[in-house]
Amino acid sequence: MFSRRQHEQRSDRQSELDLYRDALQGSGEAMSALYRRHGPLVYRFTLRMSQNPSVAEEVTQEVFLALLRQPERFNPQRAELSTWLCGIARNQLSRHLERNQRFVPLESEDEVFDMESPDDDPADCLTRKEAIEAVRQGLEELSIPLREVIVLCELEELTYEQTSLILAIPVGTVRSRLHRAKVRLARLLRPVVVNTDKERLR
């Protein structure tokens, strides 16, 4: 079973490399297949990070064009194509945000949060819709380093190793950032909880 999965992964990767070579030779079909395979991931990541569909489109296009214009930068021995594309997307996005002065500085690493409080029970206080909206809002308000890990690890379900390759940080840092991001999101729910409690008491 395991070897079969490995074989499938290997053949997937091989077919992906074949597609990539064909795209470099000018095959539109190969590029189309690569885009259908990895475009959504790149687009979703850039959209979540930029919160702007037009910027996400622009960056996604630039990422795939970089694949064609600078093929020497991609080394299949070092990274998977999806990981490499996301890394390029991140760099392009960072440049874009710097240009538009929307860069949010990294929060201090020694910031400490209490993870949970036994008194709080948001499930009792919030409707599911409100909770989702609160987390969605909280996600948008997170700092870029924390949002990156939440998007990649939680929403895209990439492994810590893949995320660490994309963000060019150690796996341990990915773990700690993810923890902090989750704490922050959980904390962002509290005001809503408190308000709902007050409303209930009235």
């Binding site: 795209a23 259908r36 795939f64 993870m115 949970e116 939680e154 929403l155 989750k182």
Partner: protein, 192 residues
């Protein structure tokens, strides 16, 4: 329910919502177009490729010819004086009868020497033949001789039997004098 667990549930909900997002199809068409355009730019057109090949071949041939010519002309040629085998110089018609004979048994070697001399300076072949100097009569045949290029009085040349036109001739002319190893001149010829 604990907030952490609740958050996980909410994140799962957001995940499914997030995964539903798809990349815009308009980008796909644009990328396909760009792929074809970039590939076409990177490889030369067939006709241009033929021209490039033709030019490369012609350039290689020219380079080879140039190198061959350069290799042949690489030996420096002395201008004023150089030692050479007297037998390498064939006496001209003016020397018939009175001129000392410079023929040597090593005729094949002489031909080679002459060929090299002619190749090194093609103008030498158009030089007038040597004329034996009257003063050289009776002198022994030199084993080795030197060729000295110098300016000589026109009047002196006539005495040596050289045909120098009287009209429009400068007072001195450039000539090559064959000097034996004993320092005595043997023959002379004009340099055009």
């Amino acid at each position: 329910m604990k907030p952490a667990n609740h958050l996980e549930e909410i994140l799962a909900e957001l995940r499914s919502e997030h995964r539903a997002l798809d990349a815009p199809p308009s980008l796909e068409a644009h990328l396909v177009e760009q792929t074809k355009r970039l590939a076409a730019q990177s490889r030369p057109a067939p006709r241009a490729r033929t021209w490039v090949l033709g030019f490369s071949f012609a350039f290689a041939v020219l380079l080879a010819c140039g190198l061959a010519v350069w290799q042949l002309n690489r030996k420096p040629e002395p201008v004023q004086s150089h030692a050479m085998e007297p037998s390498a110089l064939k006496p001209g018609p003016a020397l018939t009868g009175s001129a000392p004979s410079f023929t040597s048994p090593k005729s094949s070697h002489h031909k080679t020497t002459r060929a090299i001399a002619a190749r090194n300076n093609p103008a030498r072949e158009s030089l007038t033949p040597f004329v034996a100097l009257p003063a050289s009569e009776g002198l022994p045949l030199p084993a080795q001789a030197s060729l000295v290029r110098t300016r000589i009085q026109t009047s002196s040349l006539r005495q040596y039997g050289l045909d120098v036109p009287a009209i429009n001739t400068p007072q001195t002319v450039l000539a090559e004098v064959l000097v034996g190893e004993d320092g005595l001149p043997r023959a002379v010829r004009l340099v055009p």
